[in-house]
């Protein structure tokens, strides 16, 4: 079984795919930071940010539909901001009546809510674009370049490698359980068992997975030792950033700073 669907990378040869992962990581985070810095209700800048993301998505060729679909996955969290519409003080637009309750809807509330939702939506698209156009091992290299501790990078790299192996195992366990979750043709029997028993079974599956993982880590450790591992994390040196990479970084950074300044000017 393969749970490749876990891997968001979409192969391709676009200029975005070919850009150095370090540049992409820094600019993506910079972009998200910029988005976060733009104050509430500065719509023109939001439009610009959105245009930027969509441009890059089109340029990358991963498909606008793909990005929008994945971006929708992060949407439920918007519920957390929804109450703002009703609770932010300010000019009342209209009010909803729910039974005996009168709930006022205010202009600043609506503005606040849509700003947050829009900023979040734009940011998530940037992150999706990053992962869809960058192989994870390259993101690991980029993490090293921005000085994430080597040890942590090594751990995360190993986790990523075994994610797919173990997710497959989990999937097989789930299938095995489903295969034995049958009903007899005896009317009047309550099928499925008690909740505590079902939880115990699921817990058993989790325990099983941990146990096998710990034992697997022993085997991996032996395999690493056999190839000279001594506890120190060593890796190929980072390739040098070329002049063109620096230009991309400076140009991108400049545009982002410009956007922040512009937004502060527009914001009233």
């Amino acid at each position: 079984m393969h749970i490749h669907f876990l891997d968001p990378y979409q192969g391709g040869h676009s200029p975005i795919h070919r850009t150095d992962a370090r540049v992409k990581l820094v600019l993506s985070v910079g972009f998200i930071l910029t988005t976060a810095l733009i104050p509430i209700g500065v719509w023109p800048i939001y439009v610009l940010l959105f245009a930027m993301v969509i441009s890059f998505v089109i340029l990358s060729g991963v498909g606008v539909g793909y990005v929008l679909k994945r971006a929708a996955l992060a949407f439920p969290f918007v519920l957390a901001a929804l109450p703002l519409i009703f609770t932010t003080p300010g000019l009342q637009l209209f009010s909803l009546t729910l039974g005996t309750w009168e709930i006022p809807v205010t202009l600043p509330g609506v503005e606040r809510f849509f700003s947050i939702a829009l900023k979040s939506w734009i940011s998530v698209q940037a992150a999706i674009l990053l992962t869809a156009t960058t192989q994870f091992p390259d993101i690991l290299t980029a993490m090293r370049a921005v000085r994430v501790p080597r040890l942590l990078v090594a751990i995360i790299g190993l986790m990523w490698r075994y994610l797919f192996v173990l997710a497959d195992e989990a999937l097989r366990l789930i299938r095995a359980r489903a295969a034995r979750s049958g009903e007899a043709e005896i009317p009047g029997h309550r099928k499925g068992g008690r909740i505590a028993w079902r939880a115990q079974t699921a817990g058993g599956m989790a325990g099983n997975l941990f146990l096998r993982s710990i034992e697997r880590s022993d085997r991996i450790y032996v395999a690493m030792l056999s190839r000279g591992y001594d506890g120190e994390v060593r890796s190929m040196p980072l390739p040098k950033l070329e002049a063109s990479n620096w230009i991309e970084l400076i140009l991108g950074g400049g545009i982002l700073i410009l956007l922040v300044v512009l937004s502060l000017l527009i914001w009233e």
Binding site: F5, A176, R177, R180, G182, E183, E185, H189, K191
Partner: protein, 237 residues
């Protein structure tokens, strides 16, 4: 009872678009024992997962005369015993007893019956002494037997096994083959173990790239060197 399997025009693609089964049709009569062979990635496991509705493609799958679908899922799963390749995936409870009892407990049978079912099925695989053992500490061959017991306890009409002999030392393998030989059930077994096919299955089905490319008596197909070669198979010797 109809302990039969009837598959008609089954086509299935994985969510990523990969077409794993392409217009597969296959009828297995009550108490027939059939081997399913083919190269890695042929679609054997995918086909097997359709037999109790874990996957569902277009086309029709009927088990024991019942069409596999949303509303029959529960009953179909009670009738088809699926044993996966790795017993480690099948045995998710700490103790052998809990695992063999899972199916009957899920069906909501009374405890008395559950108890009896567990004893019977452990006896059927000659592992009666093992009920209180911890599954994790058993040998591969023992685990395989217990895995079979976990589905026997559901009193299935049809037994479906995915690569039952993989990873077994010769003796454990032999003893498993003898066990399968004695179980009086309709059986569909996917395997790479060509000698096993020759020993145990009068009929074999060759799957390649999601299609049935041959279906007939083992004795005949095994002699067709060209056919076997074309699909990455080998004669037992």
């Amino acid at each position: 009872m109809h302990h039969s399997i009837e598959i008609e025009g089954l086509t299935f693609s994985y969510p990523d678009g990969h077409e794993a089964l392409n217009d597969v049709s296959l009828v297995i009569k009550p108490c027939e024992k059939v081997a399913l062979v083919g190269p890695n990635g042929a679609g054997k496991s995918t086909l097997i997962l359709h037999l109790n509705g874990i996957l569902s493609g277009s086309g029709s799958v009927r088990v024991c005369g019942m069409k596999v679908g949303k509303d029959t899922l529960g009953r179909v799963r009670a009738m088809v015993g699926l044993v996966f390749q790795s017993p480690d995936d099948q045995l998710f409870s700490p103790r052998v007893y809990d695992d063999v009892a899972y199916g009957p407990l899920y069906q909501g049978l009374p405890l008395q019956t559950v108890q009896e079912r567990v004893e019977e099925s452990l006896a059927a695989v000659a592992m009666s002494d093992y009920s209180q053992r911890i599954s994790h500490h058993l040998s591969m061959g023992e685990k395989k037997r217990i895995a079979i017991a976990t589905v026997l306890s559901m009193k299935p009409e049809v037994l479906v096994l995915d690569e039952p002999t993989a990873g077994l030392a010769p003796r454990a393998r032999r003893s498993l083959i003898n066990l399968l030989h004695e179980l009086p059930l309709t059986m569909l077994v996917s395997t790479h173990d060509m000698p096993l096919v020759k020993d145990l299955f009068p009929r074999m089905v060759i799957l390649d790239q999601g299609r049935v490319v041959a279906d007939g008596p083992t004795s005949v197909l095994m002699e067709d060197k060209e056919l076997l070669d074309a699909h990455g198979l080998e004669r037992p010797f």
